[in-house]
């Protein structure tokens, strides 16, 4: 069966520091991968998606970037965090059809 992992589970970072969140999927090959952000009490905002290694599409202009160095690995990064980057970050995969979500990373920027 397929599983999706995210780490870290929680992260507290100062403004201006770098960020790296990792997502990996097991039990499938060539999945579509997605990064979402969710503010407290809000809906899901799609940030990036990838249909293959090295292929990244950005949905909204922002302070973040994404990379897919391996088939089942998706990384969300920032060189300098802003206060507004705080939120709950969710990774998801699909192959193809439904999207299945990871457990999320709670990021607090102070």
């Amino acid at each position: 069966s397929q599983t999706i992992h995210q780490w870290p589970a929680t992260l507290v970072q100062p403004v201006g520091s770098p960020l790296s969140l990792e997502c990996t999927v097991e039990g499938t090959s060539n999945p579509n991968l997605y990064w979402y952000r969710q503010a407290a009490g809000r809906g899901l905002q799609l940030l990036f998606y990838s249909v293959g290694i090295g292929q990244i599409s950005s949905e909204v202009p922002q302070n973040l970037s994404a990379s897919r160095p391996q088939d089942r690995q998706f990384i969300l990064s920032s060189k300098k965090l802003l206060l507004s980057d705080s939120g709950f970050y969710l990774c998801a995969w699909s192959h193809p059809g439904l999207q299945f979500f990871g457990p999320g990373t709670r990021l607090t920027v102070l």
Binding site: N32, A39, G43, L44, Q45, Y49, V51, G102
Partner: protein, 114 residues
């Protein structure tokens, strides 16, 4: 999207009663509709889906109804339990979407009264 900045509406239901969560979708060309359940601090979890050529689908204690005429989707939960307390998101997948992007609704918080 529109759902991102909105506060979530809340539905309060007595334990044991049936819950009905409604969703209006926007794209008449969507071929696939999905309901997700998100418990506090966790990622959304798939509950049930329905294709556009169907109008009803049943799962364990849940039923999804699709009315394409008015672009309305609903999730019915029978005999609501405390564990059903969560935020419920509807989602639609536009037809021909190779990248499997889906459009999420604004979500409804289901609160169970003892």
């Amino acid at each position: 999207g529109e759902s991102v900045g909105l506060h979530l509406p809340t539905l309060s239901v007595q334990e044991g009663d049936n819950s009905i969560i409604n969703c209006a979708y926007s794209n008449s060309a969507s071929d696939y509709f999905i309901w997700y359940k998100q418990e506090s601090g966790k990622g959304p979890q798939f509950i049930i889906d329905i294709r556009s050529n169907m109008d009803k689908r049943q799962g364990q204690r849940v039923t999804v109804l699709l009315n394409k005429t008015v672009k309305h989707l609903s999730l019915q939960i029978a005999a609501t339990q405390p564990g059903d307390s969560a935020v419920y998101f509807c989602a639609e997948r536009p037809l021909g979407n190779r990248d499997d992007k889906i459009i999420f609704g604004k979500g409804t918080r289901l609160h169970i009264l003892p």
